[in-house]
């Protein structure tokens, strides 16, 4: 497949791995932001092929993992009210305080698993007598389509469509991690898909403030090897700047049309991150002029304040302080079938990646 097979090529990847080996002189800790990158690293067995000096730290870029548990409870409460709840498939197995969306479906809830929020708008159009809510989670990547669904519903005059928003942003999360005095991360691989939308201008100040190289990186093994190589090269030279490895998808200014749609519907607001806590100005909330599409407001949802399972160390996993297999419950009490927390069931969760793919554990 064009643009895929060439980035999964054995010789090309091994060549870059050899280059890393040549330049590396001391241990470095590099964090890949995105859960998709974590999965690719583990799935392709890349972690075992890197020189032992390079330690990959898995970041918080799993949208499902950082969606607050309370929001899942609220989504389940909506289903109990007879609402058609539409969600990306990733979200449906993540445990709420009592059950997951999938378990709520088994108890009679009307859950529809979709690939696009525009499908949810169609469902609202075809079911005028029912309320339809789309569970709008994700990083900057899913924001444009979610915003577009609101614009489309507005254009069609649909009053039975709304979204339950839990949008989070990458740069504030990076700052949150870097400002921790215990942070030992030397370099970042930036999330390629997020930057395809947002560009990478906002990463320059972070790189400068924290003296840290940031390499915007793709998701295939060759991309990741190259991203790591460029980060190591900077670290060995003692430089720090933003580089773009993922040029085939990412430009400095990003996708301006998508950004315009996001700005039209959303504004920046504080967000709670599951396992991490509230990070100021770290997510999107609906603009006041679109508050009619805000499911939380429409259905007067009240957060339950229920606490997370105390055995789950998702926060430490998501901020890279712990690796999944360092958790005493990993693969024992906590498995994809009976997860204690979100990183074990999300398809981009670090714990799921280690559970499904890691051969060395």
């Amino acid at each position: 497949m064009k643009y895929l097979t060439e980035y999964r090529n054995l010789e090309a990847t091994q060549k870059v791995l050899g280059q890393i080996e040549k330049v590396v002189t001391r241990p470095w800790q590099i964090m890949e932001i995105c859960g998709g990158q974590t999965h690719s690293l583990v799935r392709n067995g890349l972690l075992d092929l890197l020189p032992e000096e390079i330690q990959m730290i898995h970041g918080p870029g799993c949208p499902v993992c950082v969606t607050p548990m309370e929001l899942i409870d609220l989504a389940i409460a909506l289903m109990a009210k007879g609402v058609i709840l539409c969600s990306f498939g990733d979200m449906v197995r993540v445990p709420g305080s009592g059950m997951s969306l999938l378990e709520a479906k088994a108890k009679g809830g009307d859950l529809r698993i979709l690939y696009s929020p525009l499908e949810a708008v169609r469902i609202a159009r075809e079911n005028p007598e029912r309320e339809v809510v789309f569970f709008a989670v994700g990083f900057e990547t899913t924001a444009p389509a979610n915003a577009l669904s609101v614009l489309q519903a507005e254009k069609e005059g649909l009053t039975n469509y709304s979204i339950l928003v839990s949008h989070v942003l990458v740069p504030p999360a990076m700052e949150g991690i870097l400002s921790d005095p215990h942070c030992a991360i030397d370099g970042f691989l930036g999330a390629g898909h997020v930057c395809a939308i947002m560009g990478y201008r906002e990463y320059h100040p972070i790189s400068e403030k924290y003296n840290i190289p940031i390499v915007i990186t793709g998701f295939e093994p060759l991309d990741l090897a190259e991203g790591i190589y460029r980060a190591v090269l900077q670290l060995e030279k003692g430089t720090y700047r933003v580089e773009n490895q993922y040029k085939r998808a990412v430009t400095e200014e990003g996708n301006l049309a998508a950004q315009k749609v996001i700005r039209q519907v959303f504004q920046i607001g504080d967000r709670q991150w599951r396992g991490i806590g509230t990070i100021p100005r770290s997510g999107y909330v609906l603009r006041p002029e679109y508050s009619n599409f805000d499911a939380a407001r429409k259905f007067e949802l009240v957060e339950t304040g229920r606490a997370e399972n105390s055995k789950c160390m998702a926060g430490a996993i998501l901020t890279g302080q712990k690796k999944p297999h360092q958790c005493p419950h990993f693969g024992k009490e906590c498995t994809p079938r009976n997860p204690l927390g979100a990183p074990m069931v999300s398809s981009e969760g670090a714990c799921a990646a280690y559970y499904h793919f890691a051969s060395t554990l």
């Binding site: 392709n44 972690l47 092929l49 994700g138 093994p221 981009e348």
Partner: protein, 341 residues
């Protein structure tokens, strides 16, 4: 022969009542289509000739949508059970056929399905000898569910058993993987996407028959990787044999469209269902000859050797990735779901 005006446009509850309308439905559609001496006995069941040990397998079919690119629930119900009997090393001969129909199913749809069953059964060389029809209220089913049970005799040269799987055996697949699952997914509500992907649903009993005839005891184990895909089958083999399975990512045959659809939807083709390929664990010494034979067979032209049975990592399946890395392949938990970004 398939469109008698006597029947109403859609199936009604009374068609499952056991009364006159049931009789009409059976006479007009079922008996006419499948006529054979065993059905004509008009018993409550069928008396069929079989000697020696009997191979038996049963399966229920609930696929949605019932018509999909490359097939429908009817032929699937024949192939699924015929293939299960064949995977035991059996030669399937007779099938039972039971319908649970949701009231309101268009009669024309039912006719189409029955016709497909007939075509598939003929192609597989099996006869429908007994059956049942029930109708449930609207909303209590999903258009139509089908159960089939197949019986046959063990192939005289077959030696299929988990205990024959040994270190050095090779893992062969008879064709490209993941086509059925992706064909179905492409037509599911909320996931529709344009593609030409066709289900691979087909019978494999003739291929199995020919393999056993020619290679007999060198065929150690046969499985059809339906739900759970190739990963499910290999995990089962690793666990049950307590040996390791090594797979090579780059050797998997896969149609480029199927591969692209999996990429787009974030699905691993290794976990996607197949309905027309088999996975064979064969003696390492005969593997290349068996592979060439499969490639020369109508049902195995794109066969490939994808891995081997090893002593290392007993109970586990390890995949060698395209870049030379390794990863564990775990069995599927729940339904495979798409990623979101």
């Amino acid at each position: 022969m398939y469109s008698k005006p006597k029947l109403p446009d859609s199936i009604q509850l009374a068609h499952g009542s056991g009364g006159l309308m049931t009789r009409e439905l059976l006479d007009e559609i079922v008996f006419t289509t499948f006529q054979n001496p065993y059905l004509e006995q008009k018993h409550d069941g069928a008396i069929v000739p079989l000697e020696g040990p009997v191979v038996i397998s049963t399966d229920s079919f609930v696929v949605s949508p019932i018509f999909f690119r490359g097939g429908n629930i009817g032929e699937l119900a024949v192939h699924g059970t015929v293939n299960d009997v064949a995977m035991c090393g059996g030669i399937p001969k007779f099938l039972s056929l039971s319908f649970i129909i949701e009231e309101g199913l268009p009669t024309s749809d039912f006719l189409k399905i029955v016709h497909s069953i007939k075509v598939a059964a003929d192609a597989s060389g099996v006869q429908i000898v007994t059956g049942d029809t029930k109708v449930v209220e609207s909303g209590k089913g999903d258009k139509i569910f089908i159960n089939t049970t197949g019986i046959g005799s063990p192939h005289p040269k077959g030696r299929i058993a988990m205990e024959h799987v040994t270190v050095g055996d090779q893992v062969l697949v008879s064709g490209p993987i993941a086509a059925h699952g992706m064909a179905i997914l492409s037509e599911r509500e909320g996931l529709e996407f344009e593609s030409e992907i066709q289900s691979d649903t087909t019978n494999l009993n003739h291929l199995v028959d020919d393999l056993l005839q020619n290679f007999g005891p060198a065929i150690h184990l046969l499985r059809d990787p339906t739900r759970g895909g190739v990963s499910g089958v290999c995990s089962e083999i690793a666990q049950d044999s307590d040996l390791g399975v090594v797979l090579r990512e780059t050797d998997f045959p896969i149609d480029p469209q199927v591969s692209a659809a999996c990429e787009i939807l974030g699905l691993d083709p290794l976990y996607v269902a197949n309905e027309g390929i088999l996975c064979a664990i064969v003696d390492g010494n005969d593997a290349s000859e068996i592979l060439s034979f499969m490639k020369g067979h109508a049902k195995g032209s794109k066969a490939a050797c994808i891995g081997a049975i090893v002593e290392e990592h007993p109970g586990k399946v390890v995949m060698e990735s395209s870049i030379g890395g390794k990863r564990i392949v775990t069995p599927l938990i729940g339904e495979q779901l798409p990623r979101i970004c």
